[in-house]
């Protein structure tokens, strides 16, 4: 009897515990239908993406539009994005199938493992422009005498560390007018060891001598510019055409900075070689960005007579006035844009940039004070570049 009772109670408790614990069913199938990650694997990701990491997108749970950011130039006609889905889920069209995304987004439908949940996703590609800031540095540390040993020439440092020949000065012209008797240090454009940092540029307005005077070019302002000096034009009537300002430039210049010292010469001479006591010389510091082709598609270079006035100019950064100072004085000039830059044109070398330093602001028309001196160092051009 006792046994029966224990048996009974045991059975009762057993039923109860079994009902609680021992009747778990098979695991239900997944009911979620998510694209958890989208990826685009291509042979040459650099052609498509700015960053390799842009090829993989971790998709947020409440996000159904998945957008890949690609280069403006990306070819979207045949791309095969792949997806990581919720376990057991399926996607239609298939992960890895090829689609033309150039006509717009493509819609994918994900179905959960249990078949009951469906989610519709839109995969899109967005062409984005991407700018990086780059600073061009000009420290005027690399100079040497020209091949004939008469005057100095400078080299800029290129991004790869090699030396370029982007700087030009009027020294070759000065050599033609007076230079045979002048030492390299007596030229208008010379280096100076006492820069803001290392060596600097020293521009001095010089007398050109008899030959220059006879050609109605009595003075030569010390100058330095990005561009070329065309010696063939230096001593003829088209002297203004000797300075070919600007080199093709593929970045958008934003800011132009550096340090200078300025000391005007004692007597300001007008073009007729008369002293004008009412005028004091000033230096000039500016940078110009311009379209290097005209409306008809002809290549254009700006010269001394139109570098600040051409219709093709799109941006100018110019110092308002060089102060007379014996201390290194910083200048920081924003490029003033007259029109929006055409980024495609920019990328295709359709713009040219020049930087110009002159010891006499009217040097191009041969006015100024002999002995005016502009020292320049540590020049920077801050740019934005679309990758």
């Amino acid at each position: 009897m006792k046994f029966r009772c224990i048996l009974l109670k045991g059975t009762l408790l057993g039923v109860m515990l079994m009902s609680l614990v021992s009747c778990f069913k098979e695991e239900p199938l997944n009911a979620e239908a998510d694209i958890e990650q989208a990826q685009l694997i291509v042979d040459n990701p650099d052609a498509l993406f700015y960053n390799a990491t842009d090829a993989t997108i971790d998709v947020l749970s409440d996000q159904t539009t998945i957008t890949f950011d690609v280069r403006a130039s990306a070819d979207l006609t045949a791309l095969a994005p792949t997806f990581r889905l919720t376990e057991g889920a399926t996607v239609n069209p298939a992960s890895g199938s090829v689609h033309d995304f150039s006509q717009g987004p493509v819609t994918y439908v994900v179905t959960s493992q249990d078949g009951r949940t469906q989610r519709t996703y839109t995969i899109a590609f967005r062409r984005v422009s991407h700018t990086v800031t780059e600073v061009l540095e000009f420290n005027f540390e690399h100079y040497e005498l020209n091949s004939t040993g008469h005057y100095y020439i400078w080299h800029n440092t290129l991004p790869d560390g090699s030396l370029g020949n982007d700087w030009a000065s009027g020294n070759p012209g000065f050599k033609q007018s007076k230079g045979k008797s002048a030492k390299p240090e007596d030229y208008p454009t010379t280096p100076d060891p006492n820069g803001f940092d290392g060596a600097c540029l020293k521009l001095t307005t010089r007398e050109t001598g008899a030959l220059g005077k006879s050609a109605n070019m009595p003075i030569a302002a010390g100058n330095m510019f990005l561009g070329q000096f065309d010696m063939s034009k230096a001593l003829v009537e088209k002297a203004m055409k000797a300075t070919r300002f600007g080199l093709p430039f593929v970045q958008k210049p934003v800011k132009f900075t550096g340090y200078y010292k300025y000391k005007p010469g004692p007597e300001f001479m007008d073009k007729n070689w008369n002293v004008d006591p009412t005028r004091v010389d000033a230096g000039d510091i500016y940078s110009v960005l311009y379209r290097n082709h005209d409306k008809d598609g002809n290549a254009v270079v700006l010269f001394g007579d139109n570098v600040l006035s051409s219709d093709l100019i799109v941006a100018v950064a110019r110092i308002p006035k060089t102060e007379t100072t014996s201390e290194w004085t910083p200048f920081e000039l924003e490029y003033q844009y007259k029109e929006e830059l055409d980024m495609e044109l920019l990328a295709n070398r359709g713009y040219s940039l020049t930087i110009v330093f002159s010891s006499s602001i009217k040097g191009a028309t041969f006015e100024g004070a002999i002995g005016s001196e502009l020292m320049v160092d540590k020049v920077r051009v801050y740019t934005e570049k679309e990758e």
Binding site: M1, C5, L12, V15, L20, F24, P28, A33, S61, T117
Partner: protein, 249 residues
């Protein structure tokens, strides 16, 4: 509790007095004290509940008095009143499990995958009415019961998982395992105040006064009110009680 003691004492005195009258010669009165083990469980167990990680015994005391009247040699009828707690504390793994949690004051309903820690407290007065059938010293009992709840709590937290808000395509809310990152819930206000069910049991009177008893109380009504939909399955209170009885007369 104080009220309970007064009530039970009064009942005992009354029943003792009644038992002594000749009219109630065929009646016996019992004290009972027992302990309940069980749970408020969905039956059958849904697939959304994957496993039970933890089951913690609760202070599920049951105390009460019964009156039993014999009718013939074997049959009888039993009625009584109990004051008891049916509590439960479990920790379970769930998948695709519909829940509603409170997060920074917002109620978020949806489907949860992870772990759920649930605690239930149900203090109640229970009145059983059972037919009895005696075989030797054992009385088998079967009949309905009605319970009135005096204190109720259904709370806990979902943790170590994620909730898909509203439906499976909703935002994924990750839940961790500390006070800030888990999702608390409290459905106490949605619990029924009255429960009823079937009580199947047996009393074994092994001595003149003392006996052992076991009851299985199988709830017919669910734990929650009809309009409560957060937990999709009906949770029936199913508790087994074992204890000692004392025959007063």
């Amino acid at each position: 509790m104080k009220r309970l003691y007064i009530l039970l004492a009064t009942a005992t005195i009354a029943l003792t007095a009644m038992a002594q009258t000749t009219l109630l010669n065929d009646m016996s009165f019992y004290w009972r004290i027992g302990y309940a083990v069980g749970g408020n469980a969905p039956l059958p167990m849904p697939a959304t509940i994957r496993s039970l990680n933890k089951y913690v015994l609760q202070p599920n005391m049951s105390i009460g008095v019964d009156a039993h009247r014999r009718i013939g040699n074997h049959w009888g009828i039993l009625a009584g009143i109990r004051f008891e707690n049916k509590g439960m504390h479990i920790d379970a793994d769930v998948k695709n499990y519909h829940m509603e949690i409170k997060k920074e004051g917002d109620a978020l309903a949806g489907y949860f995958r992870g772990k759920v820690d649930t605690r239930i407290t149900q203090w109640m007065f229970t009145v059983p009415l059972q037919a009895t059938f005696r075989v030797n010293k054992v009385n088998f009992k079967l009949g309905p019961y009605v319970s009135i709840l005096t204190a109720k709590k259904f709370s806990g937290y979902a943790y170590d998982g994620y909730l898909r808000v509203d439906d499976y395509t909703g935002a994924k809310i990750e839940l961790g395992n500390d006070k800030d990152s888990r999702g608390e819930f409290d459905f106490s206000d949605d619990m029924r105040d009255m429960q009823c069910g079937i009580d199947l049991g047996a009393d074994w009177q092994f001595s003149n006064h003392f006996g052992l008893y076991a009851d299985l109380q199988w709830g017919i009504s669910g734990t929650f009110k009809k309009d409560f939909k957060t937990i999709e399955q009906t949770l029936r209170p199913i508790y087994g009680i074992v204890g000692i009885s004392y025959r007063i007369n």
